[in-house]
Every structure is written in C-alpha cells, then in structure tokens.
C-alpha cells in the first residue's frame, strides 16, 4: 500500500525543525511501523540524505525505548501497543500519516523523533532507596503477599517508562509514570517504610523538572501501551497528600 509520511525533521536540540513529506509506495501490511521507517531510511541513505532518527531497542514492546506520535496518538492508533508492535495493516492505502516526537518541556527533542527522557530517570532517582534487605533470595514464604496485591503491584510495575502518558497528557504531566513507580513499591510490604516520603520526593522532583499537573483527563491511561490505570494516580495522591499531613517536611536540599 501507499502512504505519505509527514515526519518531523530536526537536526539537533537547537534546530527549529520542520515537517517533511515522504511518499512510501510499497508498504507491506505485515511490516511494523519501525520496519517501515527502516525501509524509508535505507532509501534516504542511498540517496545521500540523512536518515530519520528514532529510538528503538527490543522491538518486542517491552523495553520502552521507542515511541512517537502517529497522527496525533502516542504510539499510534492501536490500543495497548508500542510503536514497534504497531503493524501497517492498521492503516489505509493512500493515508497521510503525521509522525512527530513526544512533546514536553521536560523531554526535549534531540533529533527528529528522538527525545531526551533522562527526566524520568531523575524522578525515579529522587525516590531513593528502600530499606529492605537485599542480597541472596529470601525464603519464599517468609513474607506472605496476597495474590490480588501482588497482581496490582505487578500492574504498576508494567510501566516501561516510554513517556507516552506524558506525550498524551494535555498538560504534559508525568503523573501516571510517577504513580506507577511509586505504587509498585508502595503496594508491597518492602516498600512501606519510605512509602509517603518517596511520594513526596518524587512529586517534588517531577514538579521541579517542569512537568505539568494532573487534570484527571484520563488521556494517559488511554495512551499507555501497558494499560497502567489512573487508579494508581489516585493512590499516589493519597500517599502524597497523606505524606503532607503525616511526614516531617524535608530540608529543601533533599528535595
């Protein structure tokens, strides 16, 4: 099938950038979106043009490296799917597809579709350590965790940190990401001692990095390739507001 790709091209972080249209005439419907971009890039290279820069790693939908906006939706029109697992059969012959990077002040564009996601690492880092003992594996039944609790913690831990929630949010808020990271620890006994302090620190960091606030639109959940629920945001809010009431405020240097 034939597609017209309108792709955001930007030479570097300081370049203004613009959309460039690329007709691709022989898209196979069993290609993934990234494979189609590979084909386009081969041709651009042969013509002596700079190929389109985009991130990818596992191409199995589990690593969180890939991701960009496909016609206005993070990771494209298919629900619960990363861009690498988005197949071309979901597009119509003759369609024009707009491809642009995830946009947020805290996730600046480096080149074309590649963004700098180190802000997400900074949020996780702000959460700090857990005081649970590590080392050799503990005895399996030493700490009993109910199956529904373990399942919910796992649902939160499903977050791959791709940034789609931020890209989809009208406010470029990182609440779903932060909520997932706070909750997968906060639901388990090992995460209890620092549960509220962690929420306070990570939210403060998110704020400092220039992410927007949550208006409870629900766009993040709809865009999340892992289906992380906004229920975790409510949980984060509980931990954060509870922490505000119960925890001692930290010196500014720690936040």
């Amino acid at each position: 099938m034939k597609l017209t790709l309108r792709i955001w091209r930007q030479d570097g972080p300081r370049d203004k950038g613009k959309f460039v249209a690329y007709p691709v005439d022989d898209v196979a419907e069993d290609m993934s979106f990234l494979e189609m971009l590979d084909v386009l890039n081969e041709r651009l290279t042969l013509k002596g043009e700079r190929p389109v820069a985009f991130d990818s790693d596992c191409r199995e939908g589990i690593c969180g490296a890939c991701g960009f906006m496909v016609s206005g939706v993070a990771h494209g029109p298919q629900k619960l799917t990363t861009a690498c697992q988005l197949f071309m059969r979901h597009f119509k012959d003759g369609e024009t597809v707009v491809v642009e990077p995830f946009r947020a002040r805290a996730l600046p564009v480096l080149k074309d579709l590649v963004i700098d996601r180190s802000a997400l690492d900074a949020i996780v880092q702000a959460g700090g350590f857990i005081s649970a003992r590590t080392g050799s594996a503990p005895e399996a039944n030493a700490m009993l965790i109910a199956k529904p609790v373990a399942d919910r913690a796992m649902d939160a831990a499903a977050c791959i940190g791709c940034g789609a929630c931020i890209a989809a949010c009208p406010n470029a808020s990182a609440m779903l990401f932060t909520a997932a990271k706070v909750s997968h620890l906060g639901l388990l006994p090992q995460g209890q001692p620092e549960r509220r302090q962690r929420a306070l620190r990570m939210v403060a960091k998110m704020n400092e990095l220039g992410f927007g606030g949550c208006s409870n639109h629900g766009e993040c959940e709809a865009a999340c390739p892992k289906g992380v629920s906004i229920d975790f945001i409510a949980r984060l809010n509980r931990d954060y507001l509870g922490g505000s009431l119960l925890e001692k405020p930290e010196p500014l240097s720690n936040v």
């Binding site: 206005g72 939210v203 220039g210 606030g213 949550c214 639109h217 766009e219 409510a234 507001l241």
Partner: protein, 218 residues
C-alpha cells in the same frame, strides 16, 4: 502539618487545595440550593428561612468568610496550575487526537471563569448593589419572583447554571480522584457520581426560574 504548606509548592499540592476547596464549595452549592428550593413552599417559608439566616449573625458571617476563602484559594490555585500546565508543553503538536477526555474537562478554566463572573453579578443583584428589580430587603420571595419574571435575567441564570453544571461534571469526579478517593473499589460508580450529583444540583437551581416563568410560582 508544616509539610502541607511545603507541598503547596508543587502542582499536586495546589490540586489538593483545589479539591478540598472545591468539595467545600460543592457542599455550599447543595446548602444554598436547599435554601432556595424552599420557594416552592411559599413566601412565608422562604422569607422565614432568610430571616433565620440573618438572625444567626456572626455565624453567618463566619460561614460567608469561609466560602469566600475557599473561592479565592480555588481560583488562585487554578490560575497557577493553568499557567504551569501551559508552560509544560511550549511547542504543541501538529495533530493531536483526544481519546478519553471530555469537553467539560478541557474547558474547566473557561466554565470556572464564567461562573466567577456570574457570582459577581449575582452578589451585585441581591447583596451589594441590590440592582434586582423592585428590590426589598425583607421580601426575598418577591425579589426572586420579580427578577425571574424578566426573561433576560432568567436566561442568564439558566446559562450560568448550565456552565456550572459542566464545571461540576468534571469537577466532582476530579476532586475525588485528586483526594485519592478512587481505585478498583470505586470504579463502578466513580464516573456516575459526579455527573449525577452535578445534574441534580443544576436541575434543582434551574427549576426555580422555570417555575417562575411558567407562572407556577408568583
């Protein structure tokens, strides 16, 4: 407790303040409606209620101060949050499709601003400038009827209540979510409660001008 003030520095802290003040204003709306609705029991009932409110003296002023404080903190926080949200994405998308959000959710700042303008007008009419037609300080019933008999006043009132309804439609559930009153247990009814309560409040308020215009209350 000090951390409450510290946490107000973050957007989530501001949203928390908006949720708490929003909840307070929500209850004020219900209380105000329960007062107004007494118009259907006749002049004596409504005027009696108004006289009772006035007789509470300092308590009434305390309540009014509380409502005003909630109103101001709600508005102040919403402005800070709106500005920060806009700054969070300096360069927008060429194409953006909404998957989940509602018109009500996206227009909160506008419906809120319109309600603010209406509240100012509303206070001018019956509390401060007393511009209402044929105003008399002790006959609330007559004031309401004379005002709503003017179709323009009723139309503005109904329009303002519909905007308020849009604000509450998203606000009620957003408030619960921000305060953490959401989760798997709440899921089946969380999307229902806000709209249902918002609709009930709006219908209650609008029933008064409709009844006056229809001649049921005169």
């Amino acid at each position: 407790m000090l951390a409450v003030l510290t946490s107000y520095r973050t957007l989530l802290g501001k949203k928390g303040a908006m949720a708490v003040t929003g909840a307070a204003l929500f209850f004020f709306l219900i209380g105000h409606l329960l007062g107004n609705i007494q118009i259907f029991f006749g002049p004596q009932h409504l005027n009696g209620y108004a006289a009772f409110l006035k007789s509470t003296g300092e308590i009434l002023w305390l309540l009014r101060a509380g409502v005003l404080a909630c109103f101001l903190l709600h508005i102040y926080s919403s402005l800070l949050v709106t500005v920060a949200n806009q700054q969070a994405r300096p360069q927008g998308y060429a194409t953006k499709r909404s998957l989940e959000t509602s018109l009500a959710a996206r227009t909160m700042i506008y419906t809120g601003s319109m309600v603010l303008l209406y509240v100012i007008y509303h206070l001018m009419m019956f509390t401060f400038l007393r511009t209402g037609p044929g105003y008399s300080p002790h006959d609330v019933y007559r004031n309401v009827v004379l005002s709503f008999q003017q179709p323009a006043i009723s139309a503005v009132y109904i329009a303002a209540m519909l905007l308020l309804g849009a604000h509450l439609f998203h606000g009620a559930w957003s408030m619960m979510h921000t305060l953490g009153l959401s989760g798997p247990g709440y899921k089946p009814w969380r999307r229902m409660v806000g709209p249902a309560v918002a609709a009930a409040i709006v219908a209650g308020y609008i029933s008064i001008p409709v009844a006056v215009l229809a001649g049921w209350v005169r």
